[in-house]
């Protein structure tokens, strides 16, 4: 019986280990912490596996456990430096958002800039963007993982995405300005 259960768990859940590992790395930003988080997640999932509905989305189920364990344990122990509030970020980019983004600007963003912009977001906004835009959960799955209503997911996505684009736009402009000054010299 135990072997049976283990085989089913491996087929339905362990198969998503890479996705769990990537999500854990993004949440913790630390490889050692990510490994601990992955192990903790898989062990908790295995203990609770009897209630997992076969055939449903095992990846979404595991990601919701990753997030829950992260928020309740790892995040608390390794608290990130406090981010600024969403309202303060919105105020910072309010003027920029009144104009349309420059065409072709998105292609100019570097990987490091994208990751840095994500890091600036308050945790609940960052987690929503990671789960929906990066891990590609549905709004319903993300709402279940985050413990909020679907409308909250939608509103967080809206606020976070426009802010991320505006922040990246700022980076790109600053970079162009530096390049132009170097040419002047």
């Amino acid at each position: 019986m135990a072997d049976d259960r283990r085989t089913r768990f491996e087929r339905e859940c362990v198969v998503h280990l890479d996705a769990v590992y990537r999500a854990a790395r993004r949440f913790t930003r630390d490889d050692d912490a990510a490994r601990d988080l992955v192990q903790d997640t898989l062990v908790r999932a295995y203990r609770a596996f009897d209630t997992f509905a076969a055939g449903t989305n095992g990846r979404a189920w595991l990601l919701s456990i990753v997030y829950s364990v992260f928020i309740n344990g790892y995040h608390r122990q390794r608290r990130r430096p406090a981010t600024v509030s969403m309202e303060a970020l919105e105020a910072r980019f309010a003027d920029r958002l009144l104009a349309a983004p420059d065409a072709g600007l998105a292609e100019a963003w570097t990987d490091a800039e994208v990751l840095a912009a994500l890091d600036e977001l308050p945790e609940e906004f960052r987690a929503t963007v990671l789960l929906v835009d990066v891990d590609e959960l549905t709004y319903d799955e993300a709402a279940a993982a985050l413990g909020c209503a679907v409308g909250t997911v939608r509103s967080r996505l809206h606020r976070a995405r426009r802010l991320l684009a505006a922040a990246l736009d700022d980076y790109a402009r600053a970079r162009r300005l530096v390049a132009a000054r170097k040419e002047e010299r």
Partner: protein, 267 residues
């Protein structure tokens, strides 16, 4: 984020292709005549291009796979051991069971200790109302979950995990060890910016002792029993030997969502 007269709330759905054709067409029509919403959509789409960057293709390292296989083996072994003594104990097990039953019967007949059919749902509802009205003093007033866990470790009643909900906009106010249906419980309260309360309470017991629920939801390996009494939603679930309750006057779906996200099997 919603401006009157603008379909702001639906713009992310439009960008993500989540709208039915008719609604998408109606919003596209609005966009044709609204520069403000067109600009919002342009910003949302700009991020879409960048989001791909964060989607790395890293694979779990081989040593992590091995570590997880070993951890799952350990769970299998522990579960096999947990089952073994019951099967092997044979007659001695029956003897202990008989003594335990006799002791329970004596306790039952002894009077003051006799368990009464306490409605735990009603007790939890009253406790929530008492926190809300300020009738319950929180003996330990702190917004630090770890400090509160230390308080509960020293207080009568169960040793509990205090959930950090600061990122969801809930400020921890503090907690108290509090009698609950004749036994000590750990109760702690949060407050939102709008003054609403969320109360978490834990006591040793079994879900089976609760009255029939208004709704039952199964998720992440837990059974959540949902009750609504006098505008308060109470969600009960079991974590090991403890029954946990989350109570609030928030919309029921939000209380359930908080409970399902925060329930955690004992490590």
């Amino acid at each position: 984020m919603s401006a009157p007269g603008h379909p702001t709330e639906r713009l992310v759905d439009l960008v993500d292709g989540r709208l039915a054709a008719a609604e998408a067409a109606a919003i596209e029509q609005h966009l044709a005549g609204c520069a403000e919403c067109r600009r919002e959509v342009a910003w949302l789409k700009a991020w879409h291009t960048a989001a791909g960057v964060a989607r790395d293709g890293a694979a779990a390292p081989a040593d992590l796979r091995a570590r997880i296989a070993a951890a799952l083996d350990e769970v299998d072994r522990a579960q096999a051991l947990a089952k073994a003594p019951a099967a092997a104990s044979g007659r001695r097990g029956w003897l202990w069971a008989g003594l335990a039953a006799a002791a329970m019967l004596l306790l039952y007949l002894a009077g003051p200790w006799r368990p009464t059919a306490v409605d735990a749902v009603e007790v939890a509802r009253r406790d929530f109302a008492a926190v809300q009205s300020g009738a319950v003093a929180l003996a330990e007033q702190t917004n630090d979950p770890t400090a509160l866990e230390r308080y509960f470790a020293a207080a009568p009643g169960p040793r509990v995990r205090v959930i950090d909900l600061a990122m969801m906009g809930w400020t921890l106010e503090g907690g108290a060890s509090r009698p609950f249906a004749g036994q000590p419980s750990a109760l702690y309260a949060y407050r939102a910016a709008d003054g609403r309360h969320l109360v978490c309470q834990m006591y040793e017991g079994q879900l089976a002792a609760l009255p029939p629920a208004d709704a039952v939801q199964r998720q992440n390996g837990f059974e959540f029993r949902v009750y609504t009494r006098d505008g308060v939603t109470l969600v009960f679930w079991q974590e090991g030997e403890l029954v946990c309750v989350l109570a609030s006057d928030l919309p029921a779906a939000e209380v359930v969502a908080l409970a399902t996200a925060k329930a955690m099997a004992p490590a």
